[in-house]
């Protein structure tokens, strides 16, 4: 019974994808979206049931579907493991996916590639489920690649949009952004593959249980190498610095895609990998500390760029990046269950935030500049409420979901004694609050700047708003489940408690963070509640322009990496491929042709000539026979 549920949860998205693919070339049909959403809901129901089962029994379910590779010593099955960690991920993924599917029925209703969208979206969910449910590193990698491909398909969904210059659109075009995402992920996947090879080479198997059991026997350098390379793979998927530019450019895709992939699921795959492989990372403290530091740096780095950005979705993308940094900080410091909890909570309110932004975009005819919006709360009441709730959760205001999880992470930083990290995380919390509410105020409060552009916004369809409500509910109350979650998940993950000393001053620490958060909100209120006041001097200052241009890192990559590589490729193509390789192959063909042409002259039609050749051949054979008889 339980095994069937596992297969249902896994394959329902696949069936949905195949079904929608049948209509890929047809004009939009609403029932395609309905069928897809229903199948995703079935998957969610199965995952939730499995979650209840695992919660009540405390033991995971392990099924092996079939043997995939069995060659010599290499034995990789298609196996699936449903334990506390994976069932958490499964539930989060399927819940957010179901909501996004229903949302897309409303959002994409004017798009002519409606059916194709659902096919890609469900295929993505299927790949993510494989990634999460697999019981060995190879299956994880298959899912890893699958989500990369589906992400590429979805970011470049509007592939017919042409490339424009970087000043007009920092992402140049959806196809360009899709390529960038895929290529950056590929670079990181190389690291991940090397990590997998190291693991297999030293352990002899890729199954999680076998690998983790044999970790104590491996040498320190092997463990460090494996950890580093696996983390490089995680860096690509979760867009940590320096492989971070693709996440903001991925906003070229439709908003539901951003909500599902780049908030809740794909980008958390890296965190999932670190959590899954926690025995490995626990044994390599230097690597873990590096992970935590990098996470903290990225949290601050991304928040700084969100402070001045004008693009609605980009601000939210930066905040995703920042929160991913928080998750890595927690995982790096050893508090794996806290990272997982923040992952789940973040998925809910970030998806809600993106979907709300989608509502705004849909109303504003795809206008993204928040300087052109304002005062929308009069027209879009529910969207305003949803986005407000999500921003409160994100800022870490008490009793919303984000408060519990983010505070736990910051407390961990204090607890581990890494005070620099603690300080940076606290400051970032303040910045997070500031930019979230800057965006809310500029969009919904103040003067109605959009009227100057002749836009007539209206609220989104009722059914979409109803579909978003579970997310809003969870964004508010999920935090209260933290105790139960800890109890549930630490059956598998290592426990992490704050020390006695930290417990005593926990309320002081929480107060400090709260101060920063509330301070940020007040600052935003003061500046933006009455509407937008442009400040020319500030906008032209060096720091402002640095942040607005993402520290010029995309331009740096283009100048130092992309252009030289393109030149190198062109040179290799013209000089090496065309001149050497093609010339060699053509040369062989030409040689054969010419030699055939020349020997054709032998056919004179003259019998005497032929007899000459026969005599030559006969004499040659005689000589050869004589020689071989003499020598042999």
């Amino acid at each position: 019974m339980m095994e069937n549920l596992v297969y249902i949860a896994l394959f329902a998205p696949f069936v949905s994808s195949m079904f929608s693919a049948l209509f890929g070339m047809s004009p939009r049909q609403t029932f395609v979206g309905i069928v897809a959403s229903t199948l995703l809901f079935i998957s969610f129901a199965a995952s939730a049931t499995l979650a209840m089962h695992v919660y009540s029994t405390g033991v995971g379910i392990h099924v092996t579907m079939m043997d995939w590779i069995s060659a010599g010593d290499l034995h990789i099955p298609f196996g699936f493991l449903v334990d506390q960690v994976s069932v958490t991920m499964m539930t989060v993924v399927t819940l957010v996916s179901t909501v996004v599917h229903i949302y897309s029925i409303g959002y994409m209703d004017h798009d002519k590639s409606f059916n194709r969208f659902f096919s890609y979206l469900s295929a993505f969910v299927f790949s993510m489920m494989i990634l999460v449910m697999s019981d060995n590193f190879a299956g994880l990698f298959i899912g890893w690649e699958g989500v990369g491909v589906c992400s590429w398909l979805l970011i470049g969904f509007w592939y017919h949009k042409k490339d424009v210059s970087r000043e007009e659109n920092p992402s140049i075009s959806p196809s360009w952004a899709a390529n960038e995402a895929f290529i950056m992920n590929r670079i990181a996947d190389l690291g991940m593959l090397v990590g997998l090879f190291i693991v297999y080479w030293n352990v002899g198997s890729l199954q999680y249980d076998v690998v983790f059991a044999s970790l104590p026997e491996l040498s320190g350098s092997v463990l460090n190498a494996a950890a580093i390379f696996l983390f490089i793979g995680a860096m690509g998927k979760s867009a940590q610095f320096p492989l971070h530019t693709w996440l903001t450019d991925a906003m070229e895709g439709p908003t539901p895609v951003s909500a599902l992939i780049h908030a809740a699921t794909m980008v958390t795959a890296g965190v999932f990998l670190v959590i899954r492989a926690n025995p490995l990372f626990s044994m390599t403290p230097e690597v873990s500390y590096f992970i935590a530091s990098l996470g903290t740096f990225v949290a601050f780095f991304a928040a700084s760029m969100a402070l001045v950005n004008r693009d609605l979705k980009r601000i939210i993308a930066f905040s995703t990046l920042s929160q991913l940094g928080y998750m890595f900080a927690a995982a790096g410091l050893g508090a794996y269950w806290i990272a997982l909890f923040h992952l789940a909570a973040h998925a809910f309110f970030k998806a809600l935030l993106f979907l709300g932004a989608g509502n705004v975009m849909h109303a504003m005819h795809d206008e993204l500049d928040i300087f052109k919006m304002g005062g929308l709360k009069k027209v879009m009441k529910w969207t305003y409420i949803y986005m407000g709730l999500a921003s409160l959760a994100l800022a870490g205001i008490p009793f919303f979901a984000g408060f519990f999880s983010k505070d736990a992470i910051i407390e961990t930083a204090w607890n581990e004694g890494t005070l620099i990290l603690w300080f940076i995380l606290v400051v970032t919390a303040g910045m997070t609050a500031f930019y979230s509410f800057r965006q809310v105020f500029l969009t919904f409060h103040g003067d109605e700047r959009y009227k100057a552009f002749g836009i007539h916004p209206h609220e989104m369809y009722k059914f979409v708003l109803i579909a978003m409500s579970p997310l809003a509910f969870l964004a508010v109350v999920a935090g209260f489940g933290m105790g139960g979650f800890e109890h549930f998940v630490t059956k598998l993950l290592p426990e992490y408690h704050m020390s006695e000393h930290t417990h005593h001053i926990a309320w002081i620490l929480g107060l400090v963070v709260l101060l920063f958060a509330v301070g940020g909100i007040l600052l935003a209120y003061k500046k933006y509640d009455k509407g937008l006041k442009r400040d020319e001097k500030l906008e032209n200052s060096f720091i402002y322009r640095l942040l607005a241009n993402q520290y010029y890192i995309p331009q740096l990559y283009e100048g130092f990496i992309t252009k030289p590589y393109a030149m190198l490729s062109e040179m290799m193509w013209t000089k090496v491929d065309m001149k050497i390789v093609d010339a060699t192959v053509d040369g062989i063909a030409k040689l054969l042709y010419k030699s055939g042409d020349k020997t054709r002259k032998m056919q004179t039609g003259n019998l005497s000539n032929y007899l000459n050749w026969m005599a030559v051949g006969a004499v040659l054979l005689l000589v050869v026979a004589a020689l071989s008889a003499m020598l042999g």
Binding site: Q603, T604, G605, N606, L607, S608, L611, N612, A615
Partner: protein, 100 residues
């Protein structure tokens, strides 16, 4: 004493003479003459082997060779006549219509 080698050398010389004739002649009829020379040289060799090994096999071969040569001449001359009627000449250079 005349040994096997003597006969074989004679046969080889006659064979080479025939070979030279085959290479040299342009007239189809003369070509046939040279072919006959070669066949006869081989017959000598067979008979010599038969004599020196006291084996009748060589003579049998020679018999059948003679039969074959006779039939070859018959058919070959028939073709020669048809060729002459069609092209009016027996020179090999004029008969080179299978030029590739």
């Amino acid at each position: 004493m005349i040994g096997l080698s003597h006969y074989l050398i004679v046969s080889a010389l006659i064979f080479s003479i025939g070979l030279m004739g085959v290479l040299r002649r342009r007239n189809l009829l003369m070509l046939f003459f040279a072919t006959e020379v070669m066949l006869n040289a081989v017959n000598i060799a067979f008979a010599a082997f038969s004599h020196y090994y006291n084996d009748l096999t060589g003579q049998m071969f020679a018999f059948f060779l003679i039969a074959i040569a006779a039939s070859e001449v018959a058919v070959g001359l028939g073709i020669l006549i048809v060729l002459y009627k069609k092209y009016g000449s027996l020179d090999l250079d004029d008969l080179a219509s299978m030029k590739g």
